[in-house]
């Protein structure tokens, strides 16, 4: 893609540069055909999660999550004083997402764009019902998420919500429960959990669900693409089951990072 931004605050390259074009892919693995089973995993398996809390010592709370090729770091600063003069009775939760320039197949310009904002809004909607903001008047909690490597945008939203939730717990902010999230995609007739970027492209529709497994509630559902209502409900149920597994991984990582007293 041609990029023609001159940012006076950064070192700039040439006015226009474009992504390398590759010769026709004879070597590339044959594209997926309808009816073929998933490669590398069972249809309902999620990718293994590596989750560690407390890696960023400058922040009040932090978490780093890695699910195969998706790598996300999250830091929580707060509760700190709200900058605005308007009195807010309930605390504010502010989520900012940043994609590293090298995180996607095509280089991302460091300027924030609409995709950053939409991922941030989804993570915020997943977390707000779980945090006890009524205990924090006049305060703001800032959550910063940096996506170091991106393998599937639905996976990023799910992993980002999980990391943010663990970081909030690591910061000692009171919550009603840990928020776990999972994504699913409809490929042909099957439902595949936790799609990668390649799988997301061949899917006809995808869904991200976030909820509190401890309370059995759902905080956010985001569906995109086309799927029948039945498929959507099946996806949601499958996601809720996986969320319970994710929740135990999150609890385990928090236990491990807690200082031994």
């Amino acid at each position: 893609m041609a990029q023609s931004n001159f940012d006076r605050r950064r070192i700039n390259g040439p006015d226009e540069s474009y992504q390398p074009i590759f010769e026709s892919d004879d070597e590339r693995e044959a594209r997926w055909r309808a009816g073929e089973p998933r490669k590398g995993r069972a249809a309902r398996d999620i990718r293994p999660i590596f989750l560690k809390a407390g890696l960023i010592n400058q922040a009040n709370g932090s978490a780093y999550i890695e699910t195969e090729k998706t790598k996300i770091a999250c830091a929580v600063y707060g509760p700190r004083q709200s900058k605005t003069t308007v009195y807010n009775e309930k605390g504010r939760l502010n989520v900012e997402v940043k994609f590293a320039p090298f995180s996607c197949t095509r280089r991302r310009v460091p300027i924030r764009d609409a995709e950053d904002r939409s991922v941030a809004v989804q993570i915020q909607q997943a977390l707000i019902p779980a945090v006890r903001l009524e205990l924090l008047p006049k305060s703001t909690i800032d959550i910063f998420v940096t996506i170091i490597e991106n393998d599937g945008i639905e996976g990023c939203i799910a992993a980002g919500s999980v990391a943010a939730s663990v970081a909030l717990a690591d910061a000692g902010i009171e919550m009603l429960g840990l928020v776990a999230a999972c994504s699913a995609a409809v490929v042909g007739e099957e439902i595949w959990m936790d799609p990668t970027e390649e799988e997301g492209q061949i899917a006809s529709g995808s869904l991200v669900l976030a909820g509190l497994p401890a309370l059995g509630t759902v905080t956010s559902v985001w569906q995109s693409g086309s799927m029948t209502p039945d498929e959507a409900i099946k996806c949601m149920e499958a996601c809720q089951e996986c969320c319970a597994d994710v929740h135990s991984v999150m609890a385990q990582s928090l236990l491990e990072s807690a200082p031994n007293t």
């Binding site: 605050r9 590759f22 890696l55 400058q58 922040a59």
Partner: protein, 291 residues
């Protein structure tokens, strides 16, 4: 039994209270806090004045980037990724490609950075890194040319700080050079007829690396003490910072000094250069080779 447990709990309570008092004192009077430590010949994190933090380097973990590196210098964590794109060379330099380094200090890495455009600190560091990378000749821009006057590689070297605990310059230079060393470019051929460059998916060649510079930074506090590798607590209190860049043969590449380089009555620049060479010899000599 009960008495022993209460004394144990009260002593742990008083230890907690002492820790809280020390933390409050550090927040309210950082300068005096540091002076008290330096008077005892030690720094707040327990190091000697000339002691360096441990460095760990991990390369090639990011598959979407053509080259990547993760550096941990003590707690300071920097991730660097190299993305290669293709562009037309400049008209007055038709045989040269481009090297575009940038450091981002986002809000995630420290409470003193707010989200938004790059702060002064990030801009200054990016510029200094650009100077060092160009002057030390890590990658010669003529090796990035695909077809003179028509197509050349542009290497975007983007570093993001994840945790800022001082001395981002050293950590970032290490990350950028290691990422460049780890970078492989697809073989590119320029097609005269279609005027386009086609790259091969099968053949990837590593970059031609010239020199491998390493940087060592010092700070001078109050004109009296020379501290090596300052942390984020010490950095705002320093009057002068000196950075010495050493290449892979132990030779001096560049020196940067901001402020008056005087401790007591002596000029310490030469002392810093010697200390940097010493540290390089002892600990950082094989740091790029081990990756």
């Amino acid at each position: 039994m009960a008495a022993a447990s209460t004394t144990a709990s009260s002593s742990s309570n008083s230890a907690e209270q002492d820790a809280l008092k020390a933390l409050t004192f550090q927040r309210l009077h950082p300068r005096t806090y540091l002076e008290r430590f330096l008077a005892e010949n030690i720094r707040p994190d327990g190091r000697d004045f000339d002691e360096w933090r441990d460095v760990s380097l991990n390369v090639g973990s990011i598959s979407t980037a053509d080259g990547s590196a993760l550096v941990r210098l003590g707690s300071t964590t920097v991730v660097c990724g190299v993305k290669a794109e293709i562009a037309e060379p400049e008209l007055d330099r038709p045989q040269e490609g481009f090297l575009v380094p940038n450091l981002d200090l986002p809000a995630i890495c420290s409470p003193k950075f707010k989200p938004g455009p790059p702060t002064d600190e990030a801009q200054v560091l990016s510029d200094r890194l650009n100077e060092v990378l160009v002057s030390s000749g890590v990658v010669s821009t003529s090796s990035l040319c695909i077809e003179p006057g028509k197509a050349a590689w542009v290497l975007y070297v983007d570093a993001t700080c994840i945790n800022y605990d001082g001395n981002a310059f050293d950590a970032t230079l290490l990350a950028m050079v290691a990422a460049l060393k780890n970078t492989t470019l697809p073989k590119a051929t320029y097609n005269e007829e279609t005027k386009r460059t086609i790259c091969s998916r099968k053949v990837r060649e590593p970059l031609q690396i010239g020199r491998l510079p390493t940087s060592f930074s010092f700070g001078i506090f109050d004109g009296t003490h020379l501290l090596a590798d300052p942390t984020s607590f010490e950095e705002p209190l320093l009057d002068t910072t000196i950075s010495v860049v050493i290449d892979e043969s132990g030779g001096l590449t560049s020196v940067m000094q901001l402020g008056l380089g005087v401790v007591g009555a002596d000029d310490v620049l030469n002392k810093c250069i010697d200390a940097a060479k010493e540290c390089w010899r002892k600990t950082r000599k094989g740091v790029y080779g081990t990756s």
